[in-house]
Symmetry: C2
Subunit: 211 residues, 2 copies
Amino acid sequence: MVRRGILIILSSPSGAGKSTLARRLMEWDPSLRFSVSATTRAPRPGEVDGREYYFKSRAEFETLVKTGEMLEHAEVFGNFYGSPKAPVEVAMGQGRDTLFDIDWQGGQQVRNSALGRSVVSVFVLPPSIAELERRLRARAQDSDEVIAGRMAKSRDEISHWAEYDYVIVNNDIDSAFAELVTIVQAERLRRDHQPDLSDFVRTLNQEFESR
Amino acid sequence: MVRRGILIILSSPSGAGKSTLARRLMEWDPSLRFSVSATTRAPRPGEVDGREYYFKSRAEFETLVKTGEMLEHAEVFGNFYGSPKAPVEVAMGQGRDTLFDIDWQGGQQVRNSALGRSVVSVFVLPPSIAELERRLRARAQDSDEVIAGRMAKSRDEISHWAEYDYVIVNNDIDSAFAELVTIVQAERLRRDHQPDLSDFVRTLNQEFESR
């Protein structure tokens, strides 16, 4: 029996370190598949279609939703974002785990989808709101208005922390990453994520029989 | 809010390494409380009352069961074994995790008790039955008849592997121990095992309010 991959959902307000954690987790285990989202927002300089996002027109995106090809989707700041379903199912069938860097709306939808039983969800909290704002301001030359919008979105995101299986407070990125790795390693030791065990126990029983 | 301790149940057939893993886990985290079982079997040379077991007469044990002072109990090879409830509740209230080295019968009862929501259960499998028997023979000068009895009990124990949250195959004691530590660390990162988070998120929200 081929192991079914786990769906690892990582959510957090922007500035809490989620993208760094996701990148480091992908480096830590190259067998992980990163779920590249589709979006209707315009590419930013340096972004490559199929790497950061699959860039879609609004009409294309709506068709993907209508034909059931999106595992989850939501509208944020006037743009659609969503996770294509097919690559996730392929990865699961190959026994590969998929990492989702999505918000609470996406998290809810994946948890409530047909694949919900395979979800492990992790929420990353910032050590403080002052630190969250500092990180948001440090990384982009956004206007105060844009920052204010992101902070409001952050507050909304944080309000959903209690829907997640695990919570990491990112005081220190190395400790937070170590905690994330621990969670993934432990989840892989869960009985229901180790389907080969049934066959293994069968061999143990055969050994008992032949004594 | 004081964190409620977790109940870590470790089960395995004898010879699979459970006692070594339990001992090393206690050394790894001295804040863990080991649940000392009560038993009606006679003390073996070197065993100290209250350390290896609480040694009880059959009448005393039956009274403890009748008065609801045992969290779980079962009869094995004609002797009663069980886990006293009060010290577990004290440890939980102090936010300390308790480690149980008990069999599947005890595991079932603790999982189905009022404290079941706090249980994390781990089953340890041997790499093979030949290895299990070798370990059983190596550690005691037991008769073939006693060994045969233990092997039958082992087979019965292994048949309950699928009732556990996590499964570790003990090919190598160091790897198995590392896996056990990973499980305990990850469980402590579960949202419902970190009750202080509610207060922490409240402070984040206050920070949003006062911006």
